[in-house]
Amino acid sequence: MKYLNKNIEEIHELLKEKKIKPIDLVNEAFDNIESNKDLNAYITLNKEEAIKRAKELEDKEVDNILFGLPIALKDNIVTQGLKTTCGSHILENFIPLYDATIVDKINEKNMIIIGKTNMDEFAMGSSSRTSYFGAPKNPWNKNKICGGSSGGSAATIAARDLLFAIGSDTGGSIRQPASYTGIVGMKPTYGRISRYGLVAFASSLDQMGPMTKNVYENAILLNAISGHDEKDLTSANKDTEDFTRLIGKDVSGMKIAVPNYLMSDIVSEEIKDKIKETIKLLEDNNVTVDYIDVKYLENAMTLYQIIAMGEASSNLARFDGIRYGYSEENPKNIEDLYLETRGKGFGEEVKRRIMVGSYLLSGENAKTYYNKALSIRDDMRKEFKRVFDNYDLIIAPTTVTTAYDLTDPMDDPRKSFMDDILVIPVNMAGLPGLNVPVGFSKDHMPIGMQIIGNSFEEAKMYQLASFIEKKLNLELDPNGGEK
């Protein structure tokens, strides 16, 4: 009997009525992962510990809807005693000494951590192909990428291995792979989820979020993992709320903006057509949709390159071969240790970004590039705020193309930024962004739509997303529901 292809409410009922036990779900998840092994979605499995935990839960009361459910974490979230590699050689054998706050919250709900998912090295990339452990594959077509950097989390959800995964999103790394694999991915407002224990890439942009097969389950997981944390100074001092509360509510009367640049000729015709069909569906249901100009969107990639690479060069300075991780064997002196460890420990994309970032922050360059980027970033955020004075939400495509071939060339350093051109602005302004599947291309690869909300208005985004999900009623299981 299979349970993990059911919806959360059905599974919860079965657990409550003691018709199934958490161990049944854990065993099923590992069976699924085993049969989908060729997807390479995981770097580390937590089998022994997960089974132990499931057995412990048998004596406990099923006290919440997430109780006993398996969950996968992106491998840049630290887990005490469980290897955390960030997809990098430099942390290949790194075992953290503490749990991230999000891990504590998951444990409080008595969910069961199944494993750590594959990702671009230090979350730098757009196809998960910069992973030291090889690229994960797209369940819709195993010759295609599943996007990145949260590629493994996207793949395992799309393949229906389990219901829940966590990703992280610095410049689109939840939404873009969600779009490529036909799942729901939410990057919440900056500060909504504590970043304590998320290995930092670009601290002013990073945010974790839920990746699930549908909108409702996504909102349920966000309920569990959000909230203020005194261990993260940038976590928002907001009361917790129920993100499912607007799901199913009428969307008529909503006002939605579509930024012209995000529907310009940078996006493939096929994707634009699908977005236009969705817009038509909304208009037919009394939603107002206006195409508008939003300033600075065309500069977002440049801002991202400066800010993300600058912050990365600083954050990744901690990997020095002294305190943890890979270390050069016989260094001549400490300088030699740094140079050799980092030269051999980091992969090509990471080295490239650290070097450019170091250059951008050095001496006078900090004024010429970094400070200027921060100024434009501030104006961009104000521009978004102006849009939200008049509109409830913004919609746009999530990606410019559908998932491309795993064998496509990787030698263009601009490619990974270009892939994320539509999803980057959200991180610049700290806004929440969500991907919801809206259809398929001619070669049957998923197409996603991005919903962008004002800060802390995730509930409204789920409202619109669930409306679209229900109306379209797409078959989003790559196996067509067969297991």
């Binding site: 500060g191 990639m301 801002l303 400066i306 305190r323 943890y324 270390s327 030269g343 434009i376 501030d378």
Partner: protein, 102 residues
């Protein structure tokens, strides 16, 4: 001809980043970094913005936590996580000069 940074420029940024590159990498990065730096130059074409800056998109007031005693990591475990350690200390190679026998 493909635009490239000079060898010296690459060695300079690699040194800033404390990364040792192989000869092959130096040649590859001469082309690749030039492409990225060309992108970054586009920042100078943007006009019309004011001088306010946004370092991080914080929405709500951040608060300082109370200054109270909390649980700490076990120092022994921290030290043991270091590739080189001795007793309660993390050890490092020589800082000035070169170690003998290396």
């Amino acid at each position: 001809m493909e635009e490239k940074l000079s060898r010296e420029e690459i060695l300079h940024v690699a040194n800033l980043a404390r990364i040792k590159l192989t000869e092959e990498e130096i040649e590859k990065y001469r082309v690749q970094l030039k492409k990225l730096l060309n992108d970054v130059e586009k920042i100078n074409e943007v006009e019309g913005y004011d001088n306010d800056i946004l370092i991080a998109p914080w929405e709500s007031n951040t608060t300082l936590r109370e200054d109270s005693e909390g649980s700490m990591l076990d120092p022994k475990a921290v030290v043991e996580n270091a590739p080189r350690h001795s007793g309660n200390y993390i050890s490092v190679p020589v800082v000035i000069g070169e170690s003998e026998g290396a």
